[in-house]
Subunit: 422 residues, 2 copies
């Protein structure tokens, strides 16, 4: 039986954390590896210290606060999320998950019984990817999906590299021990849904079945500049006209491949972008998502041939960026979350995550699961982001109970039947 | 008999002027009312001063360099073009016409015989319209086609108004006298063709018969922002997808209405223009041209209904900007240009201007004509813009001869028979 969390302490800390990087309208601007994130670390390390949690970091700038277990050599249970935000982000995305994990670990520590293995609250470095793209850098490196050198070389819009600001972050905490990458026996993450489904169902807890797959691309269409008044239509290689053909065809053939697909061209850059000049170049982004990897792959495979065909007489160069397959979360952990909710008398429903999360990478390393809580009107990445205190309390209570299960289990991973059997 | 121009001096000055705002590849970025244009004014005023030409301006920022005539109250002969360029423009578009005019006026001045009336070299303000759209502002206001207040209110992409930068330009030349608008007895303009016809015919001089008609529009497509990963396709009001449908349909239905039509979408602006956000708004430009006003009107009439239909479920708002019917140039002046070319042993051919020029507006005010010279591969509005020195020399020689005819004619306008009779 897990000790009960303190929902008021959790809410107070969440609102206090939101003061670091606060922006008008109740929002937060606390981007990765900024002084704001350093300040957030100090605050969270301090709260962890009150409960005896031991702070540590790693070479990728992930933060760990550990409740020591009996077997310190066993792979730890990790539980957390991220502390960074979008430039016009909210108070809940990321921070709610880290502080719910801290609350759950705090009450475990205060209960006094030493867990079977280490329990580490974690805050992953640069989940959002708004300053340094793409995001989820800390969890990717921790899980071996990307090299430390590769992320250190990424630069923000002002030319500052991840490496430079990562060194600055680590130098601000010279006494923190460094943990190795890759050690995890299980992973739990609580996060706001960033969609409307839980709110619509009046259900405070979502048992996340998986994360839909995502592929992103940049397409460059190369034509030839010309004078809008003199160049005959038949002689043009107009990159905007080529874009219109490509985008229309992609919207039908890729966006229409299946009702569950999400196909978005969100960014379009035209050069020279002058009213009286036939455009010589267009660059545009593609964001493609689907829960089924086979459909995602089939949709993605249509992009380059279709661009090449529709762009002519312009040339199309399609560069893949992100290729994140869909993943399903551990069935035993999903069952355990459902059981915990039933035990606590809290409604829960299965839900697919449309957005990406650090748990995507952890799921390749160890049994992993996510708990979603509702957010008002499905709004996130905006100051208006809001979760009811009662919903956060419900989600954190379920998280705390599953964390206790994992902390005290004789062995990890849990057997598939363990969840249903309890 | 006109004094012979100095083609080497003309070429040297043209290349020297191109150093002001030079960009890689031999191009020029000297947009309207920028410090670059102020520097170009100083250079041109200095060269005019060497020949005794008197500088002046007007409230619309047009520059005049005047060789005084015997009757200073008579309407002057104007000859010129513009000094501003596209952001990635070339060395010849505009500047060739101003400096050929300066060369022709210089040799008239050096010949010593005072002309019957003032001869004013002119550089019109903001012909290109790339920074402040639409262009030809200076000639429009001079000719009464648009009010000074209307152009002063136009703002560039950074929010700076024509009025602010016009005041800055005029403040940089506090000693220049101000001329009234609208006084012109005749107008001549030399310009690169910006098309391939003269080069293909190996003909150094084009006698411009007229300018094709032009309509421009701005279209705003309004949808709704959304999360690229969560918003179902069926619920989207994606402004980029709407743009693709509109642009494809316009390209077919408007761009394909007639072989001589020119249809261009050169500028596209997406908001918020982020890869993971379904776009809420797209604004785009339309540039439509045709030599036949009836076809132009029919093509233009298709735009709004088609945008409304294709944009759904987004909303389309189509705002007309420029509506310039096609015009023909003065027959007597066209004949005089042909006669001058014959007198000089230079091949010349009639040609229609596909591009708009300040002469379009002058033609409504006084007898006007244009001389085209070839440009390599028809390229303009690009650093690769190029005219052979021999072709510029030929065009300028013809310009000089016709200018002398106008400067010393007993009365203006010339009679229609004057040209053929000489």
């Amino acid at each position: 039986m897990a000790p009960a969390i303190d929902p008021d302490r959790l809410w107070r800390r969440l609102m206090a954390l939101a003061e670091i990087g606060a922006i008008p309208g109740g929002g937060v601007d606390r981007q990765a590896l900024t002084p704001g994130e350093i300040a957030a670390w100090r605050r969270v390390i301090g709260w962890g210290g009150e409960a005896g949690l031991e702070p540590a970091t790693d070479a990728a700038g992930n933060l760990f606060l550990t409740l020591p277990g009996r077997d310190r050599a066993a792979a730890p249970v990790l539980v957390g999320s991220h502390l960074d935000t979008q430039p016009t982000g909210g108070r809940f995305d990321g921070a709610a998950g880290v502080l719910a994990a801290l609350e759950a670990a705090t009450v475990l520590a205060q209960a006094g019984e030493r867990p079977a293995r280490d329990v580490s609250v974690v805050a992953w470095m640069n989940e959002e990817g708004s300053r340094f793209a793409p995001g989820m850098m800390g969890s990717e490196v921790f899980c071996g999906a990307r090299s430390l050198d590769a992320i250190r070389a990424v630069r923000d819009a002002e030319g500052i590299s991840v490496g430079e600001d990562l060194d600055r972050l680590l130098a601000a905490f010279p006494d923190l021990p460094r943990r190795p990458f890759g050690s995890a026996g299980a992973y739990l993450e609580l996060h706001i849904e960033q969609g409307p489904l839980l709110e619509a169902a009046a259900c405070p807890v979502g048992i996340v079945t998986g994360i839909q797959g995502k592929k992103t691309y940049v397409v460059r269409l190369s034509g030839a500049e010309g004078h809008a008044g003199t160049l005959p239509m038949a002689e043009r290689r107009d990159a905007v006209a080529a874009f219109a053909r490509c985008a229309s065809a992609l919207d039908r053939a890729v966006g229409g491949i299946d009702p569950a697909v999400k196909f978005t061209i969100g960014r379009v850059q035209v050069a020279p972008n002058a009213p009286s000049v036939v455009a010589g170049e267009v660059r545009f982004s593609i964001d493609l998502r689907h829960p089924d990897n086979a459909v995602l792959a089939a949709a993605g495979a249509r992009i380059a041939p279709l661009c090449t065909r529709e762009a002519a007489p312009c040339e199309a160069a399609v560069t893949p960026l992100v290729d994140a397959p869909s993943n399903g979360f551990d069935p035993a952990l999903q069952a355990r979350i459902g059981q915990a909710a039933r035990d606590l008398g809290i409604r829960a429903m299965p839900i697919l995550s449309a957005a990406g999360h650090d748990a995507r990478h952890l799921a390749g390393l160890c049994p992993s699961a996510m708990i979603f809580i509702p957010c008002r009107d499905g709004i996130s990445h905006a100051p208006a982001e809001w979760t009811e205190p009662a919903d956060l309390a419900a989600g954190a209570a379920v998280l705390g109970r599953v964390l206790a299960d994992l902390a005290f289990a004789d062995t990890l991973p849990l057997a598939a039947s363990d969840g249903a059997a309890r």
